[in-house]
């Protein structure tokens, strides 16, 4: 087991190296002159030249990449053009709201989507099933910020049940923290719920047809126990996979959700950086999120072996 984990961790190194190379080369791949674009339309030639040097675009690609990678490995993601602060420091300041939002979303989405998919599969073809699948198709079709404004309008402005916008740190109490995150988490989780519910239903339909389910039923095992213990355990692999892959949706969606609900997290940092064309910040955030994504999917691979002991790599 230990050897397997080590091997799996080593296998992610080339992927991460390529991500780093790709994120770095964007500066060179992008059409036009990035320095001029970042400097903006009112910039003097001196400004453009200063930014070009700051980004290292005046030096050979490989040397520049080597330096940059060396710095990244030491935890130095460069300096923000706009604020002149280290990108790592900016990320550290903004990380709590984003991690909170994602954690609440993850728990909420799995808690809603898995039972929804299981029940839809159990009652396949019934109105419950159709309703669940209709919700799922809607989830794929409505952009995340539209869901956000709709929920905020109904539950915060009209009904006044929850705060409209903002974020309270966890250190100021669990309830104020949670209360502010309910609407953003449902907003962010909507597509994710749609995705997980669909896969859960498909995977459960497959498993429910198997002989051992009939055996369990004829033994007199109760329906909830059949669904949530016997069947779900064997339907879990695709579900866990999609939960891992879907994190990409959450990361992309967080950028938008944080703008809608005025949450001062990494998404806001990214949006502000876009408006100021602060490329080092964007590069740092993209790199960090990609590494997190790779690590989460590594974790998913490790969870496989817990769910299904037959899986050995």
């Amino acid at each position: 087991m230990f050897a397997f984990i080590v091997r799996r961790i080593i296998a992610t190194i080339p992927v991460m190296a390529f991500v780093a190379l790709f994120v770095f080369s964007l500066l060179y791949i992008a059409p036009g002159d990035p320095a001029a674009v970042i400097a903006g339309d009112q910039a003097t030639p001196q400004d453009v030249e200063r930014i070009r040097q700051g980004l290292g675009l005046d030096r050979p690609f490989l040397i520049r990449f080597g330096e940059w990678l060396f710095n990244v490995l030491r935890g130095d993601l460069g300096i923000s053009i706009f604020t002149s602060l280290p990108v790592t420091q900016l990320i550290k300041q903004r990380i709590e709201p984003t991690v909170s939002l994602m954690a609440v979303t993850l728990v909420l989405a799995i808690g809603i989507a898995v039972p929804m998919g299981v029940i839809a599969a159990w009652k396949a073809g019934s109105w419950i099933d159709r309703l669940a699948m209709a919700v799922s198709v809607t989830g794929f079709s409505v952009p995340v910020f539209v869901v956000g404004y709709l929920l905020a309008y109904i539950f915060a402005l009209q009904l006044d049940w929850l705060p409209v916008q903002g974020y309270t740190p966890l250190s100021q109490g669990v309830w104020p923290w949670f209360e502010n995150l309910i609407l953003p988490a449902i907003t962010l989780g909507f597509v994710y719920i749609a995705l997980i519910a669909r896969i859960t239903r498909a995977s459960m339909l497959e498993v429910l047809q198997q002989d051992y389910i009939r055996t369990a039923r004829s033994k007199g095992v109760s329906q909830p126990s059949i669904l949530f213990v016997h069947a779900l355990k064997n339907a879990a692999i695709p579900i866990v996979t999609v939960i891992g892959i879907g994190i990409a949706l959450l990361i992309g969606g967080a950028v938008v959700t944080e703008s809608v609900f005025a949450i001062p997290g990494l998404g806001r940092l990214t949006v502000d950086a876009i408006l100021r064309r602060d490329y080092p910040v964007i590069q740092g955030v993209v790199l960090m999120f990609s590494f997190v994504y790779v690590l989460i999917n590594l974790l998913v691979d490790l969870i496989y072996t817990l769910i299904d002991p037959r899986i050995r790599y």
């Binding site: 498909a202 992309g252 949006v271 064309r277 964007i282 955030v285 990609s290």
Partner: protein, 302 residues
């Protein structure tokens, strides 16, 4: 009181033939729509949006770029069907024109990402030595969340419809390439491909005659999903200020402009949101319908 039954009261059942004739199979256009309601509804809604987009110059009521500061943030009325935004521009006319941008971005990304993904997937599936290298690159690209990849690309280029299309296409290519590679690897194991090779078929002919046509069914389904996702990503990019330049009326831009006023004037965001959601829903329905009709075993499963 009691009445005797007469012959008139007895109804004799009509004599039925031993074998009932089969119900005439539904044929033609109506039959196709009956059998594939998702395709019919999706395609119908999509054609409607396409019509709105193409006929926009005939359908607008007020010049969509005309500023009228005196008439700003009006609620919907007979003159301004969907109201006006904070610069007094007519939202109905802007939404009609916005259909052009969304559909253009959706279709272009679907076509470009399909072509590029098909080429990369074919090479990866057919050429053994290139496969592991290409797959490592694809794995790396797929580790970057698509929206962030598009955001990073947009931060380095000037906002234009063309650059938005390129940015979203680059973010979508890995998924298509991976799908095509998987299909090609399965097809290569098929007996008919072995037979073709044994009969002396050259590689280009093998690819174009035997492999490529069989990738078309899963590709067309994937292309519709890419189209739907591209329209949403375009709206998101425009919404956070990294997309289409603000001078072009696109659904994302109209919503971005309505953002600051959403608590008091929700109608500015509402109308483009409805149009965008219906269009994406139409494309998704079309995709689901195509998938079910192309692969009946999967039908009603996913």
């Amino acid at each position: 009181m009691t009445r005797l039954l007469t012959e008139k009261d007895v109804v004799v059942a009509r004599q039925l033939p031993d074998v009932l004739p089969a119900r005439a199979p539904l044929t033609g256009f109506i039959g196709y729509c009956r059998r594939n309601p998702a395709i019919a509804v999706g395609a119908g809604l999509l054609l409607l949006m396409l019509f709105l987009a193409l006929a926009a110059p005939l359908l607008w009521t007020v010049d969509p770029t005309a500023l009228a500061p005196a008439k700003r943030t009006r609620v919907p009325s007979a003159d301004y069907w969907f109201g006006t935004d904070q610069l007094g521009r007519d939202i109905y006319s802007r939404v009609i024109y916005g259909a052009r941008v969304s559909l253009l971005v959706g279709f272009s990304v679907a076509v470009l990402a399909s072509i590029a993904g098909l080429a990369i997937g074919l090479v990866s599936g057919m050429v053994r030595w290139a496969d592991s290298l290409i797959m490592r690159i694809i794995d790396g690209m797929m580790s970057i969340p698509p929206i962030l990849l598009a955001v990073a690309l947009m931060a380095l280029t000037r906002g234009s419809v063309q650059n938005v299309i390129i940015a979203i296409t680059v973010a979508e290519i890995p998924r298509v390439a991976r799908l095509v590679r998987g299909v090609v690897l399965t097809l290569r194991e098929q007996p008919y491909v072995d037979a073709a090779i044994a009969a002396g078929t050259k590689t280009p002919r093998l690819i174009f005659r035997h492999i490529l046509p069989n990738t078309m069914a899963p590709m067309s389904v994937q292309a519709t999903y890419i189209c739907a996702s591209a329209m949403i990503v375009e709206a998101i990019l425009s919404f956070i200020g990294a997309g289409i330049p603000p001078s072009v009326p696109s659904w994302g831009n109209i919503m971005a402009e309505g953002r600051t006023l959403w608590q008091v004037k929700p109608h500015i965001i509402l109308f483009p949101a409805i149009f965008l959601s219906i269009t994406v829903l139409a494309v998704n329905l079309l995709g689901d319908g195509l998938r079910d009709s192309l692969d009946p075993r999967m039908a009603k499963r996913l």
